[in-house]
């Protein structure tokens, strides 16, 4: 029984982890190459979820919803980059934070105007609505397994992109020395827009995949953005490998904390007190993890390239 619960929670943690990775990879790439801190990254996740819900409803096919979400997030990301963020690369982080804060305000309100203030709900495709017995005796929702699979596949694809393609080579070179890459005749502007769009598409994919698991509402992007920040801080800003390790760590610690802390506390406190305090403590578990990593390594677990 306990072993089964543990396995189930491990899978939940992995699923949350890979979703966080999809966001953290984009955020860390954009920071690594453009030195831009982009608060509006969560907005692209929200755009992905909303577009996925709408297109799935119209077309009746979740796959079309996901494709549309990735495309919409990519286009939105490219548009934001070209209109506003491009002017911020040479500015301080303070200006970047404020301008992207303004972008968040705008998009949150725009989504309210377009979709209304009430939350949307999206059900997973019928084929995936059942459960699978991964390990005998542990039935697990097929849809969550698919998320884990897609997340890991994307992690491999991103690795391939960075280590095995020309774009990846330019990303690595750009992270090391932007000006030199420009001086060697690379159209740096176009490279930046491309990197930004790739990050945006990953965020849109995360939003579309997470859509059936939660209420799709304004503000969902900021909630996950801050978790993503924690991931990136733990992993080391600019490092995609760090993003993967950090995301899985955060996903697992958060899930284990929520599942097991109240149970552990019941050993010493009354059940109601244990549940109340357990919930409060487990909600800060990942921040304690972050603080611990910072004491040990102030610049995160992994170094960025170069």
């Amino acid at each position: 029984m306990t072993a089964q619960l543990f396995l189930e929670q491990t899978l939940n943690g992995l699923q949350q982890g890979v979703t966080l990775f999809l966001l953290a990879a984009g955020l860390t790439l954009v920071f690594g190459v453009m030195h831009l801190i982009n608060l509006a990254h969560g907005t692209l996740y929200m755009v992905g979820a909303y577009v996925a819900a709408t297109v799935t409803q119209i077309s009746g096919n979740f796959l079309w919803g996901v494709i549309a979400a990735v495309a919409a997030a990519g286009l939105t990301g490219a548009a934001i980059e070209i209109i506003a963020l491009r002017r911020l690369y040479d500015r301080g982080h303070l200006d970047q934070v404020l301008a992207t804060f303004g972008v968040i305000m705008f998009f949150n309100e725009l989504v309210k105007v377009l979709w209304g203030p009430q939350a949307l709900f999206l059900s997973p495709p019928a084929i995936l609505s059942g459960t699978v017995e991964v390990i005998p005796g542990v039935p697990y929702p097929a849809y969550r397994l698919l998320i884990i699979g897609v997340g890991l596949a994307v992690a491999l694809a991103v690795r391939q992109l960075i280590t095995g393609t020309r774009t990846g080579m330019l990303i690595r070179a750009g992270a090391t020395d932007r000006e030199m890459v420009g001086a060697l005749g690379v159209a740096v502007n176009r490279l930046f827009t491309r990197v930004f769009a790739i990050g945006a598409m990953l965020a849109g994919l995360a939003g579309a995949m997470a859509g059936p698991l939660l209420a799709i509402e304004v503000g969902m992007g900021e909630h996950i953005l801050i978790l993503t920040f924690v991931v990136v801080i733990i992993g080391g800003i600019g490092s995609v490998r760090g993003a993967l390790v950090g995301a899985l760590l955060v996903g697992l610690v958060d899930t284990y904390g929520r599942a097991f802390l109240p149970v552990v506390l019941r050993g010493v406190l009354s059940p109601t007190a244990a549940d109340g305090i357990g919930a409060s403590l487990s909600s800060i578990a990942i921040y304690v993890l972050m603080a611990a990593v910072l004491i040990w390594r102030p610049r995160g677990l992994f170094q960025a390239y170069g």
Binding site: L88, D95, F101, G102, I233, G276, A279, S280, I284, M290
Partner: protein, 331 residues
């Protein structure tokens, strides 16, 4: 060099007169609700001012300033809550039923916020640059989630206060009295801060912003100065939080939501960083803009967002910098 400082004095004096004359003017106009707007402005200015000390002078971009406000507000809320219910405060060594007295609540609010600033500051200051922004944000959000999932003090819904803090001989329940108390605190903080930034301590702090390595090479333990400034800023923000709780007579986790930290930052940038007085100008402009836009359209953020991007991209020096003219960047 006599003209620009005079212009600065004229701007400051005009601002002071407007703030002093506001309650009588509001009564004369028959719009007493303006006093509560003005009180919000004064309290927000105090919060932005405390941020200016670490951001404008110390170069520390804190994105978690609302946490200190939240702590200050919750100290007031929790003490008042136990006072009304006459229940014991849990997890304290002695038996204490809370208090409604401002002279107990407010200093404790300041102390609690300073303590949180000291502890998190010691960790946050191990990092710098973009890490510092993210880590301060993360700690504030940690506190937000902690209070959201704390059922003893209302969780998401927070605590409603029955009355404002009690001060012997002063009736804070009158809005105009409360306004003048807040204004007095703001002016006192401005006076203290302008002494601080020009003291040796302030010089070291400004040096940290320009070139920390060089100061360290001169044998100055810059970390301690930055931590002291961070703690002081947290303490003053905690006081602003205690005032916020009194102003709205409500305490909830939304006070420390990360967007509140963003708003304080925006006010400061709008007004002009590193000027102290800019915090007041920024708070007034931001909240006035918010009042005007909300009266025009429900979707006011649709306009405030782009305005903000525009200000960041094109108006670098802030409103105060624009008011006092180009020559007065440093006095």
């Amino acid at each position: 060099m006599s003209a620009p400082p005079r212009r600065k004095q004229v701007v400051n004096l005009t601002g002071l007169l407007v703030l002093l004359a506001l309650p009588p003017a509001a009564f004369a106009l028959g719009e007493p609700f303006l006093i509560s707007v003005a009180t919000r402005i004064v309290i927000a200015a105090l919060a932005a001012l405390s941020l200016d000390l670490i951001l404008g002078f110390g170069g520390m971009v804190s994105f978690g300033h609302a946490a200190f406000l939240g702590i200050g507000a919750y100290v007031v809320g929790i003490l008042a809550h136990h006072d009304v219910e006459s229940t014991l405060i849990p997890f304290l060594p002695g038996a204490w039923h809370g208090s409604a007295a401002a002279l107990v609540q407010w200093p404790l609010a300041v102390l609690a916020a300073a303590l949180f600033a000291l502890l998190t500051g010691a960790l946050c200051l191990r990092t710098s640059g973009v890490y510092f922004i993210m880590v301060t944000l993360a700690f504030a959000q940690m506190l937000y989630h902690f209070f959201v999932s704390l059922p003893a003090y209302g969780g998401h819904d927070g605590i409603n206060l029955w009355q404002r803090s009690m001060v012997p001989g002063v009736d804070l329940s009158k809005d105009w009295v409360f306004y003048y108390v807040c204004l007095f605190i703001l002016l006192a903080a401005l006076a203290v801060f302008s002494r601080i930034v020009n003291s040796r301590f302030g010089m070291v702090l400004q040096g940290c912003k320009q070139n920390e390595a060089r100061l360290a090479a001169l044998g100055i333990a810059t970390g301690r100065y930055k931590l002291a400034a961070y703690t002081l800023a947290g303490a003053i923000a905690g006081l602003a939080g205690a005032l916020t709780a009194n102003q709205t007579e409500f305490v909830g986790p939304s006070l420390m939501h990360w967007s509140r930290s963003g708003e304080i930052l925006v006010m400061l940038i709008l007004g002009g960083i590193g000027t102290l007085y800019g915090a007041v100008a920024g708070a007034a402009t931001f909240l006035a803009l918010e009042e005007i836009l909300t009266s025009l359209t429900e979707h006011w953020m649709l306009f405030l967002g782009p305005i903000l991007v525009f200000v960041v991209l094109f108006a670098r020096r802030g409103i105060y910098g624009w008011l006092v003219g180009p020559e007065s960047g440093d006095d």
